[in-house]
Symmetry: C2
Subunit: 141 residues, 2 copies
Amino acid sequence: MATPSMEDYLERIYKLIDEKGYARVSDIAEGLEVHPSSVTKMIQKLDKDNYLIYEKYRGLMLTPKGKKMGKRLVERHQLLENFLTIIGVQEDNIYKDVEGIEHHLSWDSITCIETLVEYFRRDPGRTDELLNVRKELEADN
Amino acid sequence: MATPSMEDYLERIYKLIDEKGYARVSDIAEGLEVHPSSVTKMIQKLDKDNYLIYEKYRGLMLTPKGKKMGKRLVERHQLLENFLTIIGVQEDNIYKDVEGIEHHLSWDSITCIETLVEYFRRDPGRTDELLNVRKELEADN
DNA sequence: GGGGAAATAAAGCAATGGCTACGCCTAGCA
DNA sequence: TGCTAGGCGTAGCCATTGCTTTATTTCCCC
C-alpha cells in the first residue's frame, strides 16, 4: 500500500506527464516544494513498488499500475475539491482540507462522494435548497 | 494546535467523563488500544496545553477549554459517521475513514457537512433520489 | 573535452507516538 | 496500622515517515 507521501508524488508525476509528456526531478520537486534529493529517494521507492520504471539520470516511465493509480489519485483530488465547493466550503480552506483527507478515504467512500456530486450536478435546484438549509441554520443562531 | 493523537485522547476522555463521570488512565488506554504509559505521557501534554488539569495518581479534570474541544471532537466524529452513512458508505469502511479524516477538516468544512446532513434529514425523499442516482451510475457500468 | 546544471547518494535530523522496564503510590484488606 | 497488589509514572528507547544537507556524479551542450 502506498503511503500518503507516495500518493502525493504519484499524483504529481501523473499530472506532469499528462500535461508536459514527461516528469523531471526538478519539476516534481518544485511542485511539491521539496528538495530534489527527496524526489530521487521517493522515485526509487516508487520504482521498487512497481509504480514506475526508473533509470538513473535518464528519467522515468509510469507502469500500467502507476498510470492507473496516478489517474485515480488525480481524479480523486479533483472530486474532493468539487465536493467541498458544492457544499459551500470557502475557497481558502478547500485546498488544505483536500490535501488532508484525500489519503484517508476508502474507495467506497470516494464512489459515494462521486454519486453525491453527480446528484447535485443533475439538478442545480438541489444546491439551492442546500443553501436554503444553510441560511436557516445560520438564522437560528 | 492539537495533534491528531491529542485529539483522539481528548475525544476519548471527554466521552468517558460524559458516560462514567471520570476518566482513568487504564480506561483511556483500553479505549485507544495503547499502553497506560502512553496515556500518562499524553495526559501530561494535554495538561501543559491547558486542556485539562492533571494530578498524579489523583485523576484529571477537563478545563473549560478541554471540555469545549472534547465536545466538538465527539460531535465531529458522530457527524462524520452520519455523513458517510447517509451517502451510502459500507459500515465496515466508515469507522476507519472517519478516524482518518476527522483530524484534517477545517471547521468550515465541518459546518458545511452539518448542513448537508441536515439537508438530507429534512426530506428523506432526497436520500431516495441519491440512491436512484447511484443505481443509475451502477447500471452504466 | 570541459563547464555547469541537474540528478543522486549518504548521512542525519525532527516530529509523532508508541513500547519496555522498572519503580512508585495508594486504596483496601487483614 | 501495616502490607501488598494493581494501577500509575518515569526514563529511555524504538519505529516510521519524510525531509534536509552535503558531497559527488552524470549528462548535455558549447
